[in-house]
Symmetry: C2
Subunit: 269 residues, 2 copies
């Protein structure tokens, strides 16, 4: 089986793109001509995917936005995932992490049932909490290392020995990566640390949120996040792409915003 990391490299090369669009579709922010319903969210996602799938290496769906839809959430998540073509990566951003038998069920839902290509997970509960996700070499697992939010400072920078906690997470992840399918989440809001993370995490994909609304610098995210071949950084774009216009031209506007961002990223690679 092709490992996740190999497949990501192939896709980033063939798509000529490191861009990931976050389909974090907020029902209250749909274009004004859309119904504010689960069907509206699905239709919006479909049109964004149709308008952008040749421009990206991945889509990332934050599960919180689907859970917020209540009993329709699962169906909208499932139908959206089905619209993502096999030429790109579909990431379930659920930040799961539980004891073994519970993580088995989370993994069964996201990996087996919904057939996502990758998931995000919390490192706090350790190896056995993540193993149901990374057992399948074709499924990518992005472990939270250094996150883009303010609260990252509460624990992630704590020093143990000479290293901050997130560097210990990176050591563990490298050690667990026998299937070549583990990666890290590293926020674009912390460029100096991102550079060091890339140096420590040679060969590992980095999922990089925080560009745009959260204030991360795109140039540094690309230059520090890529490996020496200009690959393995996945740059997530959220609200500035999918909400580029609130009018009837939202899909065209999303395509324009994604095109501009892909070009910018490729210039910095």
């Amino acid at each position: 089986m092709t490992s996740f990391t190999e497949r990501l490299q192939t896709i980033q090369t063939s798509q000529h793109s490191l861009l990931c669009i976050g389909l974090d579709t907020d029902i209250t922010k749909l274009p004004s001509h859309f119904p504010r319903t689960p069907e509206g969210v699905l239709e919006f996602n479909k049109q964004v995917i149709e308008a952008t799938h040749d421009l990206v290496c991945a889509y990332k769906l934050n599960l919180a936005f689907y859970e917020a839809l209540g009993q329709d959430g699962w169906r909208v998540l499932h139908e959206t995932r089905r619209r993502i073509p096999a030429s790109v990566i579909a990431i379930a951003d659920g930040k799961r992490g539980d004891i073994g038998n519970s993580s088995e069920l989370y993994a069964r839902a996201l990996v087996t049932e919904l057939q996502f290509d990758a998931s995000t997970v919390h490192p706090y509960m350790g190896r056995d909490s993540l193993e149901p996700f990374f057992r399948t070499a074709g499924h990518g697992v992005f472990v939270l290392a250094l996150t883009s939010n303010a609260g990252a400072k509460d624990l992630q920078y704590l020093k143990s020995g000479s290293k901050p906690l997130y560097e210990h997470v990176i050591s563990r992840v490298r050690h667990w990566n026998t299937n070549h399918n583990l990666g890290l989440v590293a926020g674009a809001t912390r460029p100096a640390q991102l550079k060091r993370i890339r140096a420590l995490a040679s060969g590992l994909p980095l999922l990089i949120p925080g560009v745009g609304a959260q204030g991360g610098d795109l140039k540094k995210a690309v230059q520090y996040g890529c490996d020496k071949n200009g690959l393995l950084a996945i740059i997530n774009a959220g609200r500035n792409v999918i909400y580029a216009s609130a009018g009837e031209d939202f899909a065209d506007a999303a395509r324009r915003a994604a095109t501009a961002m892909r070009e910018q990223i490729n210039k910095y690679r």
Copy 2:
């Protein structure tokens, strides 16, 4: 508004119980006369709740088991939660934790929509990732400190300064606890540490999993987990109660197992 911690003390006193039953209902383990369907899970939960609600202080629903039901999961979760009477605490064990705007949505789903009384959360992303949950004083938030699984050793024991990581988590949680609604998850499989956690976490509820199938010692969990009034420890019982019998007498068997466990706990308090 009565804080969560005050309410928990009142309930533990009036129910004369520290027992929490984990409604981690596995569709493959339903009694043999049940249909292996989402409806079967709901009917099983209803009957377990009817048979045991006077014996417990709480029910804990691990969301992985409901997510595993696919598109019916939300409804079964919702309907199960509605069957839990107001005389006891309903805990959503989802171990969530994300950046602010995503955590807002998780909290809206679990706190506002499903009206759970408490949630479990991952500490790794820090204060702003948890604030949407603990903002409401009536909603309890159990932050993972020292978990019951083997993987707890991968990161939670890392020393920073003179203290292991989980003690830093405890310090932060105490600091954030201005609404008197924060608590900790501390596994029964680590009794020596549990004793110290209780000493450090004076006044905080402890949600204690790991008794039973995971091998934790009940006596130590109770003696070390309780505060000086014999309260604030929530002892979770999982498979040994809800699967006490696989026959038609499963509800009676669950009641017998819960009664025995409550009595044992009360003897040790």
